[in-house]
C-alpha cells in the first residue's frame, strides 16, 4: 500500500548509490514503458524507484573505431532515425522500425528493452547476432558483458540489483555482411507471443550468427544451428536438418496463442525466412552489413 520513494538520479553514480542504499529493493525506471505496466498490474512494489531518465550523457548514438556505441537511454525512435546506425548496423534500424507503436518507440529505451526480464526483445536478437557487448556499472566499478551471456533464465539476467547498463557497443559487421530480421506473431503489432529471429551472415558463404527470441525462456543464440548452417552451401541449405538441430537448442513453451509444437514450427520458418532474406540482400545494391 505504501508508495515507493521516487528518486530522480542526477548521475549514474547517484543512481548506483541509491540502488545500493535500497538494499535490493530498488527499481530502475528509464522510459517506464514496462515499469508503469508492472505498477498498473501491481506486480512491482519496490521501496525505491530510481528514475535514470534525466541522467545526462546516457542518451546518445556514436560511431566508434570499432562500430557503434549506443547509450542506454537511446530510444527505439532515436535508433530508428540514426544515420550512423543505418550506416553501420542497419539491422538495428530495421528492428527498431517494427517495435510496437510510435508512442512506445518514443519512450522505450534500448537499455530498458534489454533489461526487461521475460519480455519482448526484438533489439536483443539483433544485438546477439551482431555480437554486441554491454557496459555495466555497479558499486564495484565497470564491467563488460556479452549480450548473449546476459540472459540466464526466464526471470534472471546477469545484473546485480545495484548495477546499471550504461551503454551497448556494437562491433561493425564485415563489409558486405548480410543481415535480416523476421518477426512472426498472430498480429502485426503489440503481441507478446512473437517469434523473432535476427541473422547476420558473412559477405559470402554461409557463416552466420543468429539471435532468437520467443523460443526459449530468454533471448538466445543457437550456436549448433549456426555451426551446421556454416557447413552448408548457402544456396542449398538443408532445412530439415537445420530444423532438427534447432529443435535441440530451443525450448519454447506453449501459451494461450500457440502450442509448443507450433512455436517450433514457426522458429524454423522464421530462421529460414531471415536467412533467405539475408541472402537475397547480397544481390541488392549498396550499403554495408
Amino acid at each position: 500500500m505504501s508508495e515507493p520513494q521516487f528518486v530522480r538520479a542526477r548521475s549514474v553514480d547517484h543512481a548506483i548509490d541509491t540502488l545500493k542504499a535500497a538494499g535490493g529493493d530498488g527499481l530502475i525506471v528509464a522510459g517506464g514503458v514496462v515499469v508503469s505496466s508492472l505498477f498498473n498490474q501491481r506486480l512491482a512494489s519496490p521501496a525505491v524507484l530510481v528514475d535514470i531518465s534525466r541522467i545526462k550523457g546516457l542518451r546518445y548514438i556514436k560511431r566508434t573505431p570499432n562500430g557503434l556505441s549506443i547509450g542506454a537511454l537511446a530510444t527505439h525512435d532515436d535508433i530508428h532515425r540514426s544515420a550512423d546506425v543505418k550506416a553501420v548496423a542497419p539491422l538495428l534500424t530495421e528492428i527498431a522500425e517494427d517495435v510496437s507503436c510510435p508512442r512506445l518507440r518514443n519512450r522505450g529505451t534500448l537499455g530498458g528493452s534489454i533489461c526487461t526480464i521475460g519480455g519482448q526483445g526484438d533489439p536483443a536478437t539483433g544485438l546477439i547476432a551482431l555480437g554486441a557487448t554491454m557496459q555495466i556499472k555497479g558499486p564495484g566499478g565497470e564491467r563488460t558483458a556479452h549480450i548473449e551471456d546476459f540472459y540466464k533464465d526466464a526471470f534472471e539476467v546477469d545484473l546485480a540489483p545495484d548495477e546499471i547498463v550504461e551503454r551497448i557497443d556494437v562491433p561493425a559487421p564485415q563489409t558486405g555482411a548480410r543481415f535480416a530480421f523476421c518477426k512472426l506473431g498472430p498480429r502485426n503489432a503489440m503481441d507478446f507471443t512473437q517469434i523473432t529471429v535476427s541473422v547476420v551472415m558473412a559477405p559470402t558463404g554461409s557463416g552466420i550468427r543468429i539471435g532468437m527470441n520467443g523460443v526459449a525462456n530468454a533471448p538466445n543464440r543457437p550456436r549448433a544451428t549456426e555451426a551446421l548452417i556454416a557447413t552448408m552451401n548457402a544456396g542449398s541449405i538443408n532445412w530439415t536438418a537445420v530444423g532438427k538441430t534447432l529443435n535441440g537448442e530451443i525450448s519454447p513453451q506453449g501459451d494461450l496463442v500457440y502450442s509448443e509444437d507450433f512455436k517450433r514450427h514457426l522458429a524454423l520458418i522464421g530462421l529460414r525466412r531471415a536467412v533467405e532474406r539475408a541472402l537475397a540482400r547480397s544481390k541488392e545494391a549498396g550499403g554495408r552489413a
Binding site: M1, L184, R187, F192, D261, I269
Partner: protein, 790 residues
C-alpha cells in the same frame, strides 16, 4: 455542480464552459449553412463532440473528481461455484480510511437482486457465488490504495461446489440446479412449413456444426461512475452507460427512494457495444453513497472488465440446409445450444432474436429454429453488437457458400435466387417493406467478378494463397417484438440555443450528431445552435437503450417529430408576439421569415424574450412492433437493414497467418444521415468482425478466464485492419424512417466471419466452422489436406 443543475451533459462542464464549444462547433459547421436542398441530412456534418474530444477536454468517468470523494472497490469471488460460509469484514472495516464496507447482509433481501430483464443477479453475492469475479463485498475508502488494502483484508470462507461449465452439462438430468427454476434461461423454437419433408425431397442437404468462443466487447474505457447526493438531496449517478433510464428505475427499487429523488447522467463514454447495459458498479456505488452521504467513485480495472463483465454468448449451431439443383433453398433447420453463463442478463433477448432471424435475409418456405440457452458457472453472457446474429450468419452464410460451391453457382446468384424483397412474408408472418438486399448483391457482384479475374491473373506471391469470399445479412432494427418507443423534447433559450433532449445517449458512434442533423433539418435551424442533451434520465422519457441499431431510426423519428412540433410552437408564439397570423411565419435556413421579411433567428428569439420558455416541443415515435414469443407470429421489428460484404484475403501457407488486404461492404441502411459517421461505423464493425473471425477469444479453464486483459487478448490493431475498406451505401429510402433512414451499427460486423471463412476456402481449399480461425489451425488443416503433418 452548476452543470448538473443546468441539465447539460456533465462531461462538458457548466453552461458557461459549454458556450465556447458550442461557438467553436458553429464555426466548424459554417460550410453547411449555405446551399439548397437538404442541408444536413445526407451530409458528412462534423460531429458535435469532436472538438472537445480531440482536444482532450472530454470528461470520462475516470476524469471526474468531486470534493470529499471516496473510492470504491469490489472484493470478488475466487471460485466459479461455491457456498459462502463466512464473510468477515472486521479487519477491513478497522483499516484507517475505510468509510464503508458493504455486504449482502446490509441489503434487504427483496432489494438484493437486480437485472436487465430478470432480477436474478445479486448486487453482492449472498450464500452462493456462481462465477469467478462475482462481487461479494464492496468497499469505499479515502483513497483507492486504501480500498485495495482493505479488500485484501476481507476474509471469505468458501465451500467449493463442482462447477457446471458447458451447456451440455447443464442440461443433464443430474446436473446441479444453478438457479431455483432450473438451468434453462431460454428455450425458444419456431417452425414454419414442413422442414423434414422438404429436406427429404431436397437435391442437396448440407449439415454442419458451427461454433464460436466467448468474446470481450473491448471498449477502451472500463465501466466507471460517481454517485453523490446533490444539494437538493437527489441521489445522482454519473456513469458510462448505454441506458441511464434503466439504472434510474433500478436504483429506485434498490434504494427505496422515490423516482424524483434519483438522477442518472451518462458521462462521455469510451465505447460500449452492448457491454454497458447491465449493472456493474451502479447499485453498490449508490448504496455506499447513501450510507456515507459522500460521493463514491468506482472504476473497474481492465482485468475486472475481462473477467467479471458480460461476454458474447458461445453457441453451438447445428445447421441443415436443403436446396434444389436450381439453387432454391427449400429448408433450413437450426438447433442452437448457447452458454448463458451465471445470470440471465440479455440471454432471452439474444435467443428471441436468433429465432426470428433464422432465415433472414432469405425467403425460405420451411424453417425450423430452436435455441436453448443454459446457465453455467462461466461469466454471464450478455448483449453484444448483433445480439447473437453474427454467429447465425457465420453458420447460415457459410452453408450458403458451401451450397454455391456444391451447385457450381456463383455465391451471388444463389443469394439472389433466395433473397427477400419488398412484399416477402417472413417466418413470423411480417410483410417486409423497403428491402434493398438485392441491390447490395448487385453492388458487390461486379467487384467480385473483377477481383476474381484479377486474382486469377495477378502475380502470385510465393507461399501465399489468395481468395475471395462473401456473405450477407438482414437485421431487424430495434428490440424484438416489444414496443420500444423513443421520445425527444426541444427547448429554446433566449439567445437562440436549441436544446434537443433525446432519450437515447450517444455511446460513441455520433448519434448525437445524427439527431442534431435531423432536428436542424426539420426545424430549419442551424445545426451549430443545437445542443443535444442525451443520456440524462430526468430530461427525457425512458426511450430505451442505445442498442439494437435503433437510435437513428427510433430517436431520429422522435427528433424529427419534435423538430416539426418546434417549428409550429415557435411560429405560433412569435405570431402572437408580433400579432401576425402563424401561416405568415416560416423558419428556413436559420432565418425566420415574417410576412416575407427575413429576420435572424437570434433576433426572433430576442423578440420572444423569456417567452421562449413556453416552447416545449415534443416528439414520440412508437411503432407497432409486437411478437408472440410462443407462436412467433407478428411484426418483431418496424424495419430491417441489409448488406453484402466481400473479403479478399491472403493466407501465408507456412505460418497460417491470414491478412485481409481488401474488404468491401455494401449496405442498405436506408437514407444515410451522416455518410462519414456511417462509414466509420462500418469500418469499425468490419475490423471488429475480423477480430472475431481471426483472433479474439476469451480463454477459459475450469471457470477461470486466463487472458483477462489487453496484453493476452488478441484484439486486432490498426496494422491488422484491411488496407482498404470500401463502403458502399446503396440508394434506398424507407418512408417509415426519419428522412428515409434505417440503421447501420450492428449490421457492419455480422457477415464478416462468414465472408472470411469463404475466402479461406477459396484461397486454400479448407473450411473452418469454428471461430476464431487461428493460424495454427490453418497450418494443421493445410497439412492434413496435403496428407502430412506440419
Amino acid at each position: 455542480m452548476s452543470s448538473i443543475d443546468d441539465g447539460e451533459k456533465f462531461a462538458l462542464g457548466t453552461e458557461g464552459e459549454q458556450r465556447p464549444w458550442q461557438d467553436a462547433y458553429r464555426a466548424l459547421v459554417q460550410s453547411f449553412e449555405a446551399g439548397s436542398g437538404r442541408r444536413y441530412v445526407g451530409h458528412s456534418v462534423p460531429r458535435n463532440d469532436v472538438l472537445y474530444k480531440v482536444r482532450g477536454k472530454a470528461k470520462y468517468a475516470a476524469n471526474i473528481a468531486l470534493p470529499d470523494m471516496l473510492h470504491g472497490r469490489f472484493v470478488r469471488s475466487t471460485y466459479p461455484y461455491a457456498r459462502i460460509k463466512r464473510v468477515d469484514v472486521s479487519k477491513a472495516s478497522a483499516l484507517p480510511g475505510v468509510r464503508c464496507v458493504l455486504t449482502a447482509a446490509d441489503i434487504p433481501d427483496d432489494r438484493l437482486k437486480v437485472g436487465s430483464l430478470v432480477k436474478d443477479t445479486p448486487i453482492l453475492a449472498k450464500d452462493l457465488v456462481r462465477h469467478v469475479g462475482e462481487p461479494v463485498v464492496a468497499i469505499a475508502a479515502d483513497t483507492l490504495e486504501i480500498a485495495h488494502a482493505a479488500a485484501a483484508l476481507v476474509e471469505i470462507d468458501y465451500e467449493p461446489i463442482t462447477p457446471v461449465l458447458t451447456p451440455e452439462e447443464a442440461l443433464k438430468e443430474d446436473a446441479p440446479r444453478l438457479h431455483p427454476n432450473g438451468n434453462l434461461i431460454a428455450n425458444l423454437s419456431n417452425a414454419v412449413g414442413d422442414v423434414d419433408a422438404a429436406l427429404a425431397r431436397a437435391d442437396v442437404v448440407l449439415e454442419d456444426t458451427y461454433t464460436n468462443e466467448p468474446i470481450e466487447h473491448s471498449y477502451l474505457e472500463p465501466q466507471g461512475g460517481i454517485s453523490f447526493i446533490d444539494p437538493d438531496g437527489v441521489l445522482t449517478l454519473l456513469v458510462c452507460t448505454q441506458y441511464p433510464h434503466f439504472h434510474h428505475k433500478q436504483l429506485a427499487d434498490v434504494t427505496g427512494l422515490p423516482l424524483e429523488k434519483i438522477r442518472v447522467i451518462q458521462t462521455v463514454i469510451g465505447g460500449a457495444f452492448g457491454g454497458k447495459i447491465d449493472v456493474t458498479i451502479e447499485c453498490a456505488s449508490c448504496l455506499m453513497t447513501l450510507k456515507t452521504r459522500r460521493p463514491v467513485k468506482m472504476l473497474l480495472e481492465n482485468e475486472e472488465v475481462f473477467s467479471a463483465t458480460t461476454k458474447r454468448h458461445t453457441m453451438k449451431i447445428r445447421h441443415r440446409l436443403g436446396a434444389m439443383k436450381d439453387g432454391r433453398i427449400v429448408a433450413l433447420d437450426m438447433d442452437i445450444l448457447a452458454d448463458g453463463g451465471a445470470y440471465s442478463s440479455y440471454s432471452l433477448i439474444v435467443a428471441g432474436r436468433c429465432v426470428v432471424h433464422a432465415a433472414l435475409p432469405y425467403d425460405i418456405a420451411n424453417v425450423r429454429a430452436r435455441i436453448r440457452t443454459t446457465f453455467t458457472n462461466n461469466m454471464t453472457a450478455g448483449a453484444m453488437r448483433s445480439f447473437g446474429i453474427v454467429k447465425l450468419a457465420f453458420a447460415t452464410e457459410s452453408q450458403i457458400n458451401k451450397l454455391a460451391d456444391e451447385l457450381g453457382m456463383s455465391p451471388i446468384e444463389v443469394r439472389r435466387i433466395n433473397a427477400v424483397e419488398t412484399g416477402t412474408k417472413t417466418v413470423t408472418g411480417q410483410i417486409l417493406h423497403a428491402v434493398g438486399f438485392k441491390k447490395t448483391l448487385d453492388a458487390i457482384e461486379p467487384i467480385y467478378e473483377e477481383r476474381k479475374k484479377a486474382l486469377a491473373a495477378g502475380p502470385k506471391k510465393p507461399g501465399v494463397l489468395r481468395g475471395l469470399g462473401l456473405a450477407s445479412l438482414g437485421y431487424g432494427i430495434g428490440y424484438s417484438g416489444v414496443r420500444n418507443p423513443s421520445t425527444a423534447r426541444i427547448e429554446l433559450t433566449e439567445d437562440g440555443i436549441v436544446i434537443a433532449n433525446c432519450g437515447t445517449p450517444d455511446i460513441g458512434p455520433g448519434s448525437d450528431t445524427a439527431l442534431a442533423q435531423i432536428v436542424g433539418e426539420e426545424a430549419g435551424v442551424n445545426i451549430g445552435r443545437i445542443r443535444v442533451v442525451s443520456g440524462d434520465s430526468t430530461k427525457t422519457d425512458d426511450s430505451g437503450p442505445t442498442s439494437a441499431s435503433r437510435t437513428t431510426y427510433f430517436s431520429g423519428n422522435a427528433a424529427m417529430l419534435a423538430g416539426r412540433d418546434f417549428r409550429r410552437q415557435f411560429s405560433d408564439l412569435l405570431a402572437k408576439k408580433l400579432d401576425v397570423t402563424p401561416e405568415n411565419i416560416r423558419i428556413d435556413n436559420d432565418q425566420v421569415i415574417v410576412n416575407n421579411k427575413p429576420m435572424r433567428f437570434e433576433d426572433a428569439c430576442a423578440t420572444l424574450g423569456s417567452d421562449v420558455k413556453q416552447i416545449m416541443a415534443y416528439g414520440v415515435f412508437n411503432p407497432d412492433s409486437e411478437l408472440d414469443f410462443v407462436t412467433f407470429k407478428g411484426n418483431p421489428y418496424p424495419t430491417y437493414t441489409y448488406a453484402t460484404q466481400l473479403a479478399e484475403i491472403e493466407v501465408d501457407i507456412d505460418t497460417g497467418k491470414i491478412e485481409v488486404p481488401r474488404f468491401w461492404a455494401a449496405h442498405d441502411a436506408g437514407r444515410i444521415v451522416n455518410p462519414m459517421g456511417a462509414e466509420g461505423q462500418i469500418e469499425g464493425g468490419v475490423v471488429m468482425g475480423l477480430g472475431m473471425a481471426l483472433w479474439e477469444k476469451i480463454c477459459r479453464s475450469d471457470g477461470y478466464i486466463q487472458n483477462p486483459g489487453m496484453r493476452d487478448y488478441l484484439l486486432p490493431g490498426a496494422k491488422d485492419a484491411p488496407t482498404e475498406i470500401t463502403t458502399i451505401f446503396i440508394d434506398n429510402e424507407d418512408e417509415t424512417g426519419p428522412f428515409g433512414a434505417k440503421g447501420v451499427a450492428e449490421a457492419s460486423l455480422i457477415p464478416v466471419p462468414a465472408a472470411v471463412a469463404a475466402a479461406l476456402h477459396d484461397a486454400a481449399g479448407i473450411r473452418l466452422n469454428a471461430m476464431p480461425m487461428e493460424a495454427e489451425t490453418v497450418v494443421k488443416k493445410l497439412a492434413a489436406r496435403k496428407g502430412n503433418k506440419p
